[in-house]
């Protein structure tokens, strides 16, 4: 696994997940959990948080791509994540533009500077 690289996980809306899966990041087989979660209107916060924590605890995931508005739902788990791997990238969605004030990395950097 170390020679092949780590996976990129996605927790996002349907269109963005479909797009990144088209890009070739998807992994799904009988033995492993998928490395993506499509967040819909009826997806609960508990489900999102459980999936996010699973991704953080997997040692084969290198990057997690997450909508910023979804990241807000699990902000406490995100802020507690201090390791550099997996890297968590907050990206805007169609309905919610990106807000730099909410980004965990930028908030920490602003505090130092």
């Amino acid at each position: 696994m170390a020679g092949r690289g780590k996976l990129i996980a996605v927790i996002r809306d349907e269109d963005t997940v479909t797009g990144f899966l088209l890009g070739g990041i998807g992994e799904l087989n009988k033995n492993r959990h998928p490395n993506f979660l499509v967040v819909e209107k009826d997806t609960t916060i508990n489900e999102i948080e459980d999936t996010f924590r699973q991704f953080l605890n997997r040692d084969d995931i290198g990057i997690i791509l997450i909508n910023q508005y979804i990241a807000e739902m699990v902000r406490h788990a995100l802020d507690a994540h201090q390791r550099s791997i997996p890297a968590v990238l907050e990206i805007p969605s169609k309905e919610h533009p990106y807000d730099a004030a909410k980004d965990s990395i930028l908030r920490r950097a602003r505090g130092n500077i």
Binding site: G5, I8, T16, L22, G23, G24, G62, I85, L89, I113
Partner: protein, 185 residues
């Protein structure tokens, strides 16, 4: 003298941190632009193929990633990320597969009963094939946009790691400076 050198170092690390933050924002805007292009292309593909023809119903039941992210850590704890495409195998992986292939070929030549061949995983399937044999050009454009986005995501992850590392360096230097120059009561 020591505090002056330390201040110069603090200034250097701070400038680097600010530069990295600026780069991160530029990469983020570029990624957002690629993702928006991808959304538009997906909408066009849906218009051509049907509303329910481009979505989770078409996802394959078995997926093998074509793209992974390579990581490396330097001695001072700095992480780097880069994209790795399927097919770029390590020498060990290539060697073991060749050995498995040769041993199965030799067994067949000698007429011995065929033993099950080692489970050599097939090359990852292009996800475009989930959507049919002839897909509209807009779906290929969507794939290209999101692929570019993945490269930008790897760059952003490297920059985030550098920013976090820079912050810890800055904190250490500021602590040392405090010890050298304690504030007057």
């Amino acid at each position: 003298m020591a505090s002056r050198d330390l201040r110069a170092e603090v200034d250097f690390v701070l400038l680097q941190l600010l530069g990295d933050l600026e780069q991160l924002e530029a990469k983020r805007q570029a990624l957002n632009a690629r993702v928006e292009e991808g959304w538009l292309s997906l909408s066009k593909a849906r218009y051509a193929m049907g509303a329910k023809s481009v979505g989770p119903l078409q996802y394959a039941s078995h997926m093998e990633p074509q793209v992974r992210v390579g990581t490396s850590e330097s001695q001072d704890g700095l992480q780097k990320f880069w994209m790795v495409r399927a097919g770029t195998q390590t020498p060990e992986e290539v060697g073991s597969r060749e050995a498995a292939f040769l041993s199965s070929a030799l067994r067949r030549r000698k007429g011995l009963p065929r033993t099950p061949e080692p489970d050599s995983s097939p090359a990852p399937q292009n996800p475009l094939k989930w959507f049919g044999i002839l897909v509209p050009h807009s779906l290929r454009q969507a794939q290209a946009s999101f692929r570019e986005g993945l490269q930008l995501a790897a760059d952003m992850a490297s920059l985030q790691s550098r920013i976090t590392w820079g912050q810890s360096q800055l904190q250490e230097l500021q602590e040392k400076l405090k010890q050298l120059e304690p504030r007057a009561p």
